[in-house]
């Protein structure tokens, strides 16, 4: 057992943190939901970071850690799927050209980055299909600018050329999707807590910073405990690539996010309702991920099959 990042992984983490610095603050005049940075995506591409999961010294764990770190930025980009799901799709050698960035269309619902994605991953229960966007239909992607989710959302109409995966490939891709989503949620939860800690340390009520009130301190501490647990389960699942671990990590992420989203908004009060505080950038990303890949109910059933069927 060794629960510390190895030297290569630490080096990646350091480099990611350095790269992230320039994206660490949202523009003062930004008052929207989807704060997307193409530069971020380009720099990750150029730095070769989308390949780290495939490098033995680093592996998926290092990728999950990078996702976790980058998810804490106010800027978003299609990072998680490229880092953890892309390498798996590459390995499967499918008869579909696999190109970054990716999107997930779960149960025909709007998908994140769906308007710009080059590879579309369709999920319907346990079924997984892949399609390339290099087909005429791509033009049909319908962006949803009024979405409250803090990602660029779009609907994709029926795409005819979906290549459906066999069961074992589908399970591998589902697992990678779940780990990627759990790692992203771990970062988002952490960022929501960090933002809230800053807010309550400054904002005063009855003459004291509200962060001094015990009721709030205890709740925020419980949130912090959940946040770390989500990160641990995501890391474990990234390391093992096990389907049960992946479902468990995403279940815990979605269950914990439910609690954390409510609490941080409660503590941030009216400030958290404004688009001038960054809180919604985290919470309205988390909300977009609450229902992904089965949601709590679906992930719990997947956990049941993977972890309890031998009992």
């Amino acid at each position: 057992m060794d629960l510390t990042l190895n030297e290569d992984q630490l080096a990646v983490a350091g480099a990611i943190d350095k790269l992230a610095e320039q994206f660490a603050s949202s523009p003062v005049d930004f008052h929207g939901f989807a704060l997307v940075s193409e530069t971020l995506q380009q720099e990750l591409e150029e730095g070769g970071y989308f390949d780290i999961a495939a490098v033995p010294e680093m592996g998926p764990l290092s990728a999950a850690d990078a996702i976790y770190r980058l998810a804490q930025l106010p800027y978003t980009a299609e990072v998680a799927l490229s880092m953890l799901v892309g390498p798996v799709l590459d390995e499967l050698a499918l008869p579909v050209e696999i190109q970054r960035p990716f999107t997930v269309i779960d149960n025909q619902r709007p998908g994140r980055f769906a308007a710009t994605a080059k590879t579309l991953i369709f999920v319907d229960g346990e079924k997984v299909g892949v399609a390339s966007s290099d087909q005429p239909d791509q033009k049909l992607a319908e962006p949803l600018p009024d979405s409250l989710y803090a990602y660029p959302m779009a609907r994709i109409p029926e795409t005819p050329n979906i290549h459906w995966l066999n069961d074992s490939d589908a399970q591998r891709v589902q697992a990678a999707l779940r780990v990627a989503t759990a790692a992203e949620m771990a970062g988002l939860i952490q960022a929501a807590i960090t933002t809230t800690v800053e807010h309550v340390s400054v904002r005063k009520q009855f003459g004291h910073p509200i962060g001094t009130f015990q009721a709030l301190r205890h709740r925020l501490s419980e949130c912090a405990v959940l946040a770390g647990g989500v990160r641990w389960l995501a890391f474990k699942a990234a390391w093992s690539s096990d389907a049960g671990d992946a479902a468990l990590a995403l279940l815990h992420a979605q269950e914990s996010a439910t609690r954390v989203i409510y609490d941080v908004h409660q503590m941030s009060g009216a400030m958290g309702m404004t688009l001038e505080m960054d809180l919604h950038l985290w919470t309205y990303r988390l909300k977009a991920l609450m229902s992904e890949l089965g949601g709590r109910a679906g992930n719990a059933q997947a956990v049941g099959e993977a972890c309890f069927s031998s009992l």
């Binding site: 949803l144 009520q205 009855f206 009216a270 949601g295």
Partner: protein, 378 residues
């Protein structure tokens, strides 16, 4: 006890629904999206005038002021139906619920003449100048100053989170005329008075919903002070007691839950786990419903309502939370702009625990007055 509506109450509810059907436009779902969007506010003006003509704007007001002394049940049924319909009255619900009645109690003849009848006709929009940057629900730390020079007060300070300020005609404004809790006074200030600046705060709740209002040497004649100097604490307490139950949020939450269940059933996505979560949210809505009705029952019977009102309010916070979470988790496309009314509920629901009388304040009241726990050390 009788948990059923009387025939008369049911008929009244039907009347309201008929009137709503008559006056709400076809594309109402798209108008109703932001609680205080320009579109909604503009529509509210015409709608409230129509409602007044139908006798449904201020039925619970005294006859002298355009009402018919309807009982608290009818007032509440009206509030429920309006809220479920996406509150087409916009910000005028405040006039109806507490600003008008407060002026009736504390206003001078001149103040009443000028303000009450226009409210009863649905012609005016008010905003509420309570919160300030450094004092949320905590009136004692209010800092906006009103300094008297002869007959005129000069007001300086800043209000925040002010709903409807962008379009309001008049501000029900608190300002400090001297130090301490008893140094706060109320001023009825036309929003076009020189020195008032309004800034939109971009928000999740919707465009144009919340604002900052800056007062820069704003001159107000003492005729427009409501009550005596320093009487704000008492008057606001009285006004809040009229709002005891608050907005009947449980009714829209309950409707939203049912709408979401319908969508899930159509999509064949209403599985066992989803049913369980829906049932729990439904239970929370019903608990909030009976709590709220209990307060109305007491008011209708002229009984004093104690801290149970806070218990009822907090039960509404719980039900809003469960319904909002249910929708986001199971009908996520709702807040991607695919279902405008579900989006509108989301925007209204997220402020449940934060808006006037924040949840924490309610919990403090429950702890001290209802459970009678020892007070916190200060």
């Amino acid at each position: 006890m009788d948990f059923n509506w009387t025939a008369q109450q049911q008929a009244f509810r039907e009347t309201i629904r008929t009137v709503l059907a008559k006056h709400l436009p076809e594309d109402w779902e798209h108008v109703a999206h932001g609680p205080a969007s320009k579109e909604q506010t503009a529509f509210a003006k015409q709608f409230c005038a129509a409602l007044a003509e139908e006798g449904l704007l201020v039925p619970h007001w005294p006859k002298a002021w355009g009402g018919r002394d309807a009982d608290p049940w009818e007032a509440f049924i009206l509030a429920e139906e309006m809220w479920m319909a996406g509150e087409p009255r916009g910000g005028q619900y405040m006039n109806v619920n507490w600003i008008g009645p407060t002026l009736m109690l504390y206003g001078t003849d001149e103040q009443k003449e000028k303000h009450i009848l226009p409210m009863a006709r649905g012609e005016t929009l008010w905003c509420q100048g309570f919160s300030e940057p450094e004092s949320g629900s905590d009136l004692a730390s209010l800092r906006t100053r009103a300094n008297k020079h002869g007959d005129v007060y000069k007001i300086n300070g800043q209000k925040i989170w002010t709903s409807y300020a962008g379009d309001a005609d008049t501000c029900f404004c608190l300002a400090r005329t001297s130090d301490g809790k008893n140094g706060i006074s109320i001023f009825l200030i036309p929003m076009d008075t020189p020195g008032i600046t309004v800034r939109d705060i971009p928000s999740i709740i919707g465009e144009g919903d919340i604002h900052e209002v800056f007062f820069d040497d704003v001159e107000v004649n003492q005729r427009w002070r409501l009550g005596e100097e320093g009487q704000a604490w008492e008057i606001v307490g009285r006004a809040l007691s009229m709002e005891r139950v608050g907005i009947p949020r449980f009714s829209l939450a309950s409707k939203t839950l049912k709408d979401a269940i319908r969508l899930l059933k159509q999509a064949n996505r209403f599985s066992a786990g989803v049913v369980e979560q829906a049932a729990k949210a439904h239970a929370a809505c019903e608990a909030a419903r009976w709590y709220s009705y209990q307060i109305i029952d007491q008011r209708a019977k002229n009984l004093t309502t104690g801290p149970e009102a806070s218990v009822g309010r907090f039960s509404t916070v719980i039900c809003e939370r469960l319904v909002s979470e249910f929708v986001v988790e199971h009908v996520p496309e709702a807040i991607s702009g695919v279902h405008p009314m579900l989006l509108a509920h989301h925007q209204r629901g997220i402020v449940a625990g934060i808006a006037s009388g924040a949840a924490e304040i309610q919990l403090n009241i429950i702890a001290t007055q209802f459970l009678e726990l020892p007070r916190e050390p200060r």
